[in-house]
Symmetry: D2
Subunit: 438 residues, 4 copies
């Protein structure tokens, strides 16, 4: 019997329903700005936190007791896990899923075993996808959990570790391609340092640059049409991770000539750990032309580690969704729930509650963001605020019509006395709240 | 009579002296690794915090009652301030100083007045420099304090404000050139945002890029041979500043083709506000080839704003100085004390205590860093740690000798089982402490 | 003509109105749980940020150019300020206001002048209150801005400074009493340290304890029936402030026997600077029996200083308002807007936008919190969760029916195997969101 | 053969030695201020991080492969662990050790098994202590790792969990008593909340208060003469822990009448996670009369979780040791290394390097702190700074000789004009650096 048998398929019941195991706002077929909610949000459930993590933390053992996590023959347990995962996806109704290679298949004791196990499980996944209609948003390789990666994968001081990681990434990319994945993600959890005393920053940077170039070359070689995504994170488990935030990743891509080949997979909690608002990272990524996809979660504002909680602030998500809609919406990306139920939430239903609340919060946000776009008071305000740059003087400056000296001469000649004009922040904050609360 | 008349010229008295108004470790002529301490450290005192700030904070009025800050005819007070400043530089013995245009001259009510006042004070400074032998490490323009800059200078929504700032920067650059300045600094205190709701990130980025290009063009036109420096800071006064940290600045420079024209002026407290160690920012800047100069101060580890305290951790400064020495030492840069005595430290002597302690801490650090270089255990450890990358397999990977597929094939064929080797962090930390404590 | 003449009296226009200078949710007379919105919220506007602060920050001069802040004869300007303040209160419609002694009257050059100026202005305020019907939520004394208080007021190393502060507090208390103030507030902005190197913690603690005792004695002597409030803050301007947070204040009150005499004035931004959620500080204060009043504002989650922004997160305020309602609502306290418009918001209207948005956010939150109380799913969940403690075994433990040994014996004898039961966090978060978003 | 056979017994070899596996500053018998270094520092090695933790983190599996952590019969492995631990203690030369009940004995599947296993291992420990001379600094019970404690131990919503924890604490206290432990520690790792939505703060506080009272009663009943210690920590694994910091613990103890029965076990990294310097927590604990013992480690200033690194900042430790010496030194407490080697440091020697560096740093700090005491410039400065409070006027204020009104009258009558006097922070910081660096 299914582990989730107490939970029926989740459906949209509207705001009138009191059923906690139903959507109250997310109606997948509801049209918003000419597309369905499902098409806009491209929701994905992750294997990693939801089916692999046992509810442990640094101070305590796992609390979950999921049957597929019990002791047993590894491949049999992997199949049991896949059954549970696709059962969950189907009951929940998220159209996409995401995985690491070692989430779905046992790692084995050699590269040969790894390859064999993974290939067998990719067959299973392919069949499951066909049966359920669930699609792959992205795949990735776990090159950070095994002790061999303690000092990094691509940035490891040993080239053999680089080679081991390359092998995993190659197979994970090819599996993603075969399973019709829309993207392939690179997360450098151990690509960073614990201490500068033993670290050669320049050398490790070059190793990482070459690794990414090899990935891009391989993508083209195998004809994978999806997007290659880098997921920025500032720290944890390392003291400092090389893909700290969007701006850092952008500089890295520029250095290695990859800025047109790679986009970012932004995680809310990684943004806040880096000292940025989630809104900031999304807006910056769009401004730099590298926006790709979202790991939708949130941190705890008072805790300094990755809590990966379910996103439920409609206030925060509305602004993020507004930016994404204004930029044209997702292409290959989507909202992936890279989220954990709390360690105390050990009931099967809790996994549903977490996802349902997050999905409803995204649906509420999407509707509010759509209203913001339809009658875009923020855009109007900005257009007026920067109007001078669309007029002759501003255009001439930007187009190189002045040198520093000639501009200074003109300013002096005109005896300009520019005065500050209110930025209207409180007014705009009120306007946003009216979009959200009517 | 001099405000500082109670304080004699500070000299080196060695560790045996109990005189708090003497150097116990900084002997300017002492040779370290073939250069004098003075040549290595290139110490500078700043006008800004030391002669302009009255000891006020957000919750209280100034406590300092420096005579040149009292009410009076602006140009007369500016001359009095210059007298006090050069008197202080001479008594303290720092060979360099640094200033903002409006630190040294009254801003006036128009660009014409600004130009006239500033030109008159540059004459004064030129004479003072000649009389005292004190040199200019760098000049800069204050384009953030006046209300006109409330919404930024180069990134202001009004092109007229851009033009006003350009005029100041032009004159500050030309003054720096005339006074023999070794560098010119750009700090974007208001180049950022308070809210994304009223901000066009892409547009403001382009304005800032054009501004920097104009600055570089002007540098070459006037024949200024010094270095153009950008000073990263993550926030304060704005919510988010565009030159957040070194990695962010690097990406920006790459985008606008300026990475060979501009270097960074790193401030310790700005590093820590950005979530980085000071060591990290210096090492990163060197690894990216953009290291320039240092604003030597420190923050309070428990306070979230720029406290600009005097640097006195020999433990921290030794590592920073080690990185700088290994990279060849300063070229045009130096250690500028961008530091404030505490608001409670209102005695004239306090200004000396702050600088003396910081200078001695740098001298101690320089000697320890030199020992680290002479017998470089860290370099030895790293050479061994990364040896695989200097051997054939590692080199072949980096030089493009493998594709992802061919590398994976080779890994599989060799059936590699790389094992993690200890990173030796505790050992290396002990070694560093032995350099510091003998 | 009034500075605020461009702004009509703000009225409730409902959600259908597009007028930004109107309330869309706050209808003062609307009944919620048997009281009007106005009675529940007890809204107050503050003199301090709204009429005293000129729009300056650490890096820049004031941007506001309010006429009453211009140069002039101090008492005349104080009267002009009072005219503007009460004009603003009346147009906005907040029933209460709050002040520091030196906000309303010039400090003068001696205690005699202070007393005279303040007395004259209290006459003015009394008249204004009578004319407008605006009431005083609380008064306080500014014993932190003048340079004499640089090292603290009650905790100053000089007893004369303690005496100076005592004089101000005496007069501010008596003025508050005379003006019918509902509370008197003590904020220890400089009661802390900048460095432990020069600080005697034990001694300063005793000074502060004695000061508070004198305040309580005076309260009873003059017959003031309002509440004495302490406002916790962890730091800024000092490195560490002695009234760090609610739990710290509680320990202090217990030590000096004041826990039944003093309550807390909690500020949202002070909570977040202390590493707590605003919700935490309110809930803790209620659990400890010391909840008094609220300084309603918010910080910036990414900035480490007191930004004092207008509160506008209905999500956050709903939980806070729920706790307050459950605890019986305010008695003498209220929501005071200890808030600043941003330095860029220099238009007279901006002061209204800030307050209107905050008031509407509180009204929205009040209605949502009332729904939470009416059908209190959280209370139901908790009752069930802790049911064991209301049954015999739990009661016996709490009432002292077991020793450690006898309880261990019983546990052993019963061979208990308690299992963790889900805490239901995700479910409860969804329930809260349904109260907020329907 | 011993796991540590590559490492000889660590001895003091002085600063001239280049042997990394020797002490260069810690000479246990060296006399400092009339006591040996060993008597001053009372060094302890912990079982928990050093023998129990496998080198795992949230993103990766254990890297250590210690033989006693391999699979095997639980009691046999526990004996093997004890062998390794006492072998390590003996080679390292730390005179004390510390443990949790479940560090030393398998938990078993019932309380009866727990009791039996633990009793058997206490026999083993007793024998080991006798053989090696290593003594027990403190014992404690792990009531946070087992899933049953996911929602707390004493503060759990189920009284049965309280009873389970009481049973463990009873046995751990009795074992500590039997083994001659100098202290017993209570750490409330799960005594806190993950969300306020499901938490009754008042109720949980009362449960915790009763638990502590039972512990104190039991201590007296069994005649344990050691000190009961609470270890404050602000968060992690919970969102908020009830024993947040020293000031919070003090308020709690006052509420339940335990302030004379319980002292604090302060951890450096817990202090910094709470937003305090380590120095602050030690000085505050001493000022409140609740200082007990130290968990000597440090956090990473840029990471927001408990990194538990080896303490190696002589600058920080000197100030802490100075405070402890001034307060009379440890009585029952000591410096316990609650420290982890980094996950990358997987060699047996790394465990020695970590401890050796920390011990030498403490020895250096002790000598410097002793110099600070011998010629106590800080005390002299403070005596002068607060002199007014030792004179008549100050004394009269503190002793209740004034009411607020009479003091104000006197201030007015004397027309006082107190002026701020410099706090000398920079001078004092330089003095401290001269103690440290000569």
């Amino acid at each position: 019997m299914s582990y989730f048998s107490s939970v029926p398929k989740i459906s949209y019941e509207g705001t009138g329903s009191d059923n906690p195991l139903a959507f109250h706002h997310y109606d997948p077929n509801k049209q918003v700005l000419g597309k369905s909610m499902a098409e806009h949000l491209r929701l994905a459930t992750c294997y990693w936190h939801t089916f692999v993590w046992p509810g442990s933390d640094v101070f305590g053992a796992g609390t979950f007791e999921r049957p597929w996590q019990a002791a047993g023959e590894p491949m049999a347990k992997a199949r049991e896990k896949a059954d549970a995962a696709f059962d969950f996806f189907s009951r929940l109704g998220t159209p996409y899923y995401t995985f690491h290679d070692t989430d779905v298949a046992p790692e084995g004791d050699s590269l040969a075993e790894y390859k064999k196990n993974f290939a067998a499980m990719v067959d299973v996944l392919e069949k499951k996808q066909a049966e359920t209609g669930v699609k792959l948003l992205w795949g990735t390789a776990n090159v950070f959990s095994n002790p061999r990666y303690a000092a990094g994968a691509a940035t490891n001081p040993q080239p053999e570790v680089f080679a081991y990681a390359a092998t995993q990434v190659r197979h994970a990319m090819e599996a993603t391609h075969r399973l019709g994945g829309a993207n392939y993600v690179l997360w450098g959890g151990r690509e960073g340092y614990d201490t500068l005393l033993n670290t050669d920053l320049k050398r490790e940077r070059e190793q990482l640059g070459r690794f990414f170039q090899m990935v891009i070359e391989h993508k083209h070689k195998i004809g994978f049409k999806g997007t290659i995504l880098i997921e920025p994170k500032p720290q944890e488990p390392t003291k400092h991770q090389y893909d700290y935030d969007t701006a850092t990743v952008y500089g890295f891509l520029k250095e290695f000539g990859l800025e047109n080949e790679v986009k970012t997979n932004l995680e809310a909690n990684h943004a806040t750990l880096a000292g940025h608002s989630f809104h900031h990272e999304v807006a910056t990524s769009i401004a730099l032309g590298v926006f790709g996809s979202i790991d939708a979660n949130r941190g705890d504002p008072q805790n300094g580690w990755d809590t990966d909680q379910f996103p439920n602030s409609v206030e925060e998500l509305t602004l993020v969704t507004y930016e994404i809609l204004k930029a044209g919406g997702f292409t290959t990306g989507g909202f992936n729930f890279d989220t954990k139920v709390r360690r105390q939430s050990n009931a099967p239903e809790d996994l549903f509650h977490g996802h349902i609340g997050a999905i409803d919060a995204l649906a509420l946000s999407l509707e509010r963001a759509a209203k913001m776009i339809e009658r875009d008071a923020l855009a109007d305000f900005k257009a007026k605020r920067y109007a001078g740059w669309d007029a002759d003087f501003g255009k001439k400056i930007l187009q190189g019509g002045f040198t520093l000296a000639s501009l200074a001469d003109e300013a002096m000649a005109r005896d300009i006395h520019p005065k500050h004009v209110s930025g209207g922040q409180e007014l705009l904050e009120n306007i946003v709240n009216r979009y959200i609360y009517g």
